[in-house]
Amino acid sequence: MATVTNWIEHLSAEKVQGAVYPGVGTEGILVLIAFVIWIGWTVISARQETEKLEKLARKRHGSNDWKNNVTDG
């Protein structure tokens, strides 16, 4: 996984390789993972939000009921 194991050798090479992160060449897989995380997060959070809103809507609280829930700080 390590792209660099010896900085002296790396920096004294005739052409210094710029990319030094682990796993150079696996960028495509990393991007795919990022896409999956983004879309997955969107789906999960949207589902959570819908459930939460539906549950609260069913309770039909009045517009001033929240005042009963004000804490003393």
Binding site: G18, E27, S45, L53, A57, H61, D65, W66, V70
Partner: protein, 466 residues
């Protein structure tokens, strides 16, 4: 980097942009505080989370495709050939500034010892993206779902503003070449487009419950925490310094860049690679802020909320030409922008029943639009770009700055890339039933259950004896 002076210039530039990113982070802190201060108590935490979550959503999508769009779209595509490869297609070839180097799989999109600039430049533009999305966020508080806002934030932050930046900011942008578009500190590129987008969303989203009486008269739902609003706006002002600096190139030798034989001329430039000074734009920033505050105080009769917002509107209105204006011109332009924004806000509110909770459409959209139009008159005849002379695909010059080109540019920003996409996306989300929270939740308050749980916790702690 083996040459000492070259290395120093590169690392200075890297550090310069890094500092601008840190400063611009304060814009987002300010927007969060401002929005929470403007919202009602029962919606506070939801309002905060909505604006906070745009950070990861816009950042990830900016990495995946937003940055690529900026480098690929300067030609339209199909509107004007690139000066690099003389093609009007998307710029994805092997040329130096091609989008090819900014796909997410590129090794320049990471720690790369051969490139000290791409990452900080990417980040500076990303912070602009957050700002664009955050402008929209404020207008729509207390009734939009977080899901819908996330989609809209990505649309404005990682797609539409970056298209307008490619068209009107990139040195190869077709709007510079054909229209003579000039927008040094983003009156249109950020503010008009985000204001227009917010207006498009608001037209579909509708007002908060209670905003208008049965006869259609608007009611004031003022900020619930004016002190948080105050600190928020001061932080936005502070972050705006970073925004201005980030729109400049800190050090550039224009002699060889312009092809002037034997000439060496080091200077700071704006994003169009025409000379300006950090010193001069600092004066203009402060004078346009002052003009906005002066006008806002009078026109709102000393209302703190509008006076602070007017300071911002003053800067936004003068921003298009603040690289070249005289400070007193900046001040006057800032004042004009505030009067237009304030009057239009209330006219649109009454006429179209638009509930813009924080005046974002006015401060960013109308002031930005006005700033572009004014710039067309005041800077009429100046070159729109440093690459203006003989650089076009046919050897002719870029169009000079002119009133008609700037007016068309303002329409493109506010309407074409702002209002229309915002309206269409909001319509789609509305059609899916995902745009607006249920009426019962809006009345109860988005934070109802969090507050209820906190009250229960408090009761159990209060009744404890040990």
């Amino acid at each position: 980097m083996t040459d000492e002076l070259g290395a120093l210039t590169t690392i200075f530039t890297e550090f310069y942009y890094w500092i601008t990113v840190v400063l611009m982070f304060l814009i987002h802190v300010g927007f969060c505080m401002y929005e929470v201060g403007a919202s009602r108590y029962k919606h506070h935490q939801h309002t905060l989370m909505k604006n906070t979550m745009l950070i990861p959503l816009v950042t990830v999508t900016w990495f995946l495709f937003g940055w690529w769009i900026y480098w690929a779209f300067p030609t339209g595509p199909g509107l004007a050939p690139s000066i690099m490869n003389e093609s009007a297609a998307l710029i994805t070839d092997e040329s130096t500034f091609s989008a090819k180097w900014y796909v997410p799989t590129s090794d320049l999109m990471a720690v790369n010892l051969g490139d000290h600039i791409s990452g900080v430049f990417w980040a500076a533009f990303l912070l602009f993206s957050w700002t664009a999305a955050s402008i929209v966020s404020g207008a729509i508080i207390e009734r939009i779902t977080t899901f819908a806002f996330g989609i809209l934030a990505i649309a404005i932050g990682s797609v539409f503003w970056t298209i307008d930046a490619a068209w009107g900011w990139h040195f190869d942008g077709w709007m510079l070449k054909i229209l003579g578009y000039h927008d040094a500190y983003a009156s249109g590129v950020i503010h008009a487009v985000a204001g227009g987008f917010a207006l498009g969303v608001l037209a579909v989203l509708g007002p908060r419950i209670g905003k208008f009486s049965s006869s259609g008269e608007p009611r004031n739902i003022g900020p619930r925490n004016p002190w948080l609003v105050t600190i928020g706006l001061f932080l936005i002002y502070t972050g705006f310094w970073g925004f201005y600096a980030a729109c400049n190139i800190p050090i550039f030798n224009l002699g060889p860049e312009y092809g002037m034989e034997g000439v060496t001329y080091f200077t700071a430039t704006n994003i169009y690679v025409t000379p300006t000074t950090l010193s001069g734009i600092t004066m203009n920033f402060l004078m346009s802020l002052s003009g906005g505050l002066l006008a806002g105080y009078v026109i709102s009769r000393g209302d703190p909320f509008w006076t602070y917002s007017s300071g911002l509107a003053g800067i936004i209105c003068a921003s298009a030409g603040n690289d070249l204006y005289h400070p007193i011109q900046s001040m006057i332009i800032g004042m004009i922008g505030v009067v237009i924004a304030y009057k239009l806000h209330y006219w649109v509110e009454r006429k179209f029943k638009i509930d813009d909770a924080v005046g974002a459409v006015a401060v960013h959209g109308y002031a930005g639009f006005a700033g572009l139009v004014i710039c067309g008159f005041v800077l009429n005849g100046y070159p729109s770009s440093g690459y203006s002379v003989g650089a076009m695909w046919d050897g002719s010059n870029y169009a000079a700055i002119n009133p008609l080109g700037m007016f068309i540019g303002a329409l493109i920003m506010f309407v074409v890339l702002g209002f229309i996409p915002g309206w269409i996306l909001a319509k789609v989300l509305h059609g899916m039933g995902k745009l607006r929270i249920p009426r019962e939740v809006e009345l109860a308050g988005l934070d109802y259950e969090i507050m209820e749980a906190a009250k229960e916790d408090e009761k159990s702690v209060a009744s404890a004896s040990r």
